[in-house]
Every structure is written in C-alpha cells, then in structure tokens.
Amino acid sequence: MQTKIYADNAATTKPDIEAIKAMLPYLEYEYGNASSLYALARKPKKILKDIRKKIASAINAKPEEIYFTSGGTESDNWAIKGTAFALRNQGNHIITSSVEHHAVLHSCSFLEKLGFDITYLPVDSRCEVSCKDLRAALRSDTILVSLILANNEVGTIQNIKDLAFVSRENGITFHTDAVQAVGHIPVDIGALGVDMLSASAHKFYGIKGVGFLYISSKRNDIIPYMSGGAQENGYRAGTENIAGIVSMGVALENNVQLIEEQKRKLTELEWIIISKLTYSKIDFIRNGSENRLPGSMSLSFAGIEGERLLHRLDLMGIAVSTGSACNSKSTEVSHVIKAMSVDSKYAYGTIRISFGKHNTIKDAEEIASAIVSICAKNKDIY
C-alpha cells in the first residue's frame, strides 16, 4: 500500500530540500556545541544568531524575543505552564477555548489538577471565539488568555488582533498557538499584539522536533521551562538542536515568500474539490469560517463515517485525516466538531483534507473522484 497523494499537510509537511541540505553540515562537520569556547563552536554559534534574526524578521519580532524549542507542543506547554507558575501569586484563572490543540487543552487540564481555574470559551458554528465572550469571562484573578490563531481541524482563522486587544486592555498576558499559521498566512507580531506565540517547523516544510516560542520583550512573567544550562538566555536549558534550527530558518524564509502565490493555488485546489462534489450531488457540508487557512478543508459527509472514508481513501493511495474516530461500538466526534455543534447527520462523516505546496490540480481531481466513487458505492449498500 503506497500513498500517491499526500493531502494531510496540517499534520506534517514534506521538508524542503533546501532546508534539509542547509542542516547537513551541522550534522556532519559543524557539530560543535554553540556554548563552547573554541573554534568548532564558532560557526554553530553564528548560525544560531543568524537564524534567530531570520525567524524574528519573518514574524516582525526582535531576535531576542525568539526562543528555540522542540516544537509546538513544548512551546504551548511552556507558554501556559510557565506563565501560570510565574503569576500564581496574582491569580489562578486562565482562559482558553474549547477548540484548542491538545497541547493547550491538556496543559490547562494539568493546571486544573493543581488548583488553577480554567474557562473554556465556546465557539460559534464557524469555530470563531467572540470578543464579547472573552470580555465576559475575564476576572480580577485572570492571569492568562490562550487562543489558537488558525484551527488545526477546520482552518478557521481567529480574530486574534481584537481578542488580544481585549486581553491587553485588561493587562492580561495573551498567548496564541500559531502552529498552523506561521509560514502559511502573514503573521505579524506587531499587528497581532500578542505576548507569546508558538510555532513548529515541520508544519512549514522544516523538519520535526524543532520549533520556537516568541515571548515579547515587554513581558518577563514566565518561568523557564527546562532547568539546566544557560541556553536561550537562561530560559530554555539544553544544548541547541542547531541542525534542526537551521532547517527551520531556511524553511520559514522560503515559505513566507510563497504565501500569496500559495494562497491562490490552494484556493483553486479547494474549488476543484467543492465543485466536483457539488456537481456529483454529494450530500456534504464544509466546516469553518470563510476566513480560513488556504488549502485547509474540513468536510462532513452524510451517510458515511469519517474514519471509514479515510481508510477507503488510504486504500486508494490518498492520505487525509479525520474529525471522528470509531471503534466497533461507537464513533467519537472530535472536540472541535462537537464545539461547533455540527449537525449530527454530518458530524460523524468528517474528514480533513489539507493541501500543501506540493499538491497539484490532478491531486485535487483524483481526491474528489475518489470521494464521489466511495459515496456512490456507500449509497448502494443501503
């Protein structure tokens, strides 16, 4: 069984060849520890500085505000737990939403067990959090708001600028999980007005195991996530993953330049899928708001379960993801689909197609044809 069409780019992306090539010297020859004081450490130290600058520039931040981590999960954990522990004497209330990634949700439930009080904001049918709900949830003991920038399941782009403003005008630290957004849509720290932002390299054509957390220099209310050496200005101990960081810098620089071009292309691929399914009279809905990540499609079908559709597509060489998982007794709808109150006629039949820069028009046509054929055969069963 071989995957011929990869359409699960929200899960991970194929690393850019330039990003792989750029990292190889740091595995083969320039293996020095950037913290050391001899010649072999000079190049790793310099490249670390250069990449920090490159990444900062891609999101309009300052280099000293970029902290390298092992990826989005660590960045989210650090932002949430680090802030909670640092500000515990000021309050124990944290606000997030019901549609966050599990790295955020599970960090919050961990804190709940330690006595923190968490408010999970609802979303509307487009997966959007409202400023009104955020304002109503704020309390005198609120210390942190964490809301996702672009949802990983349905692609909805939150109005982070306004939500962060509400938080800021109340003096509350604001974190955004931008793992799906960075490298895919313009992300400008100045315009967003957030205090912390998480990103992960493998979501924008870098390699796995590396990411970063932006922490505004105006904020110093976070405790270090790892204890040990003085790396990352004493905030994140551990010898730096130089090779991974180099690959991340190159990948981000490459892909930030392609954002507009990719948006046009990916929108065309989305249109091919939607028009073919509509033309074939397939009973489906598209989830999420109009303002969504390019190439991200959460589709819910009537009469077929998402996981069944995923496996059938897999047998046809097509890799997508699902918004529901079944066992022999029941089918569980994802927390995001549930929070959006998607009609149960469709909710169980949810899949996520996430196109990336390597996908072609032919891929979109083949995926649409495969779905049409599976749905048609499925109808015949009953």
Partner: protein
C-alpha cells in the same frame, strides 16, 4: 459461516467480516470475500491484509 454476497465463496472468517464492517459499514449483514472486497475498494488483497494487521495492532474489537 457467511458467504460472499458477490461470488458466493463461503467460510468468511472473523477477520474478513471485520474488515468488511470497518471499510463498508458496521451495520452490514452481507459481506464480501477478500477478492471481491479488494475489487470493491479499488485495492489489492495484500492491502486489505495490511489494514487488518493495523486495525488489530490498534486494538479494534471487530477483529477479536
């Protein structure tokens, strides 16, 4: 033992019943043999056996 609803092959074992339910619907009462199911899904019989192993590793109770 159920028979294949397409070619009539009999002795469809629990794994074959399980993969039919997993790929078509858990509510079906008519099943395909491996060859007919592979045809139906546009796959090979080997692909289906690979899937069965994956489902078993995941602990899917349809194969127990």
């Amino acid at each position: 033992m159920p028979k294949c609803s397409s070619c009539g092959k009999d002795d469809l074992d629990k794994d074959i019943i399980g993969i039919n339910k997993k790929l078509i619907s858990k509510d079906i009462t008519n099943f395909y043999c491996m060859n007919c199911l592979a045809d139906y899904c546009g796959a090979t019989v080997n692909d289906l056996y690979e899937k069965i192993e994956e489902f078993k590793e995941q602990g899917c109770t349809l194969f127990k």
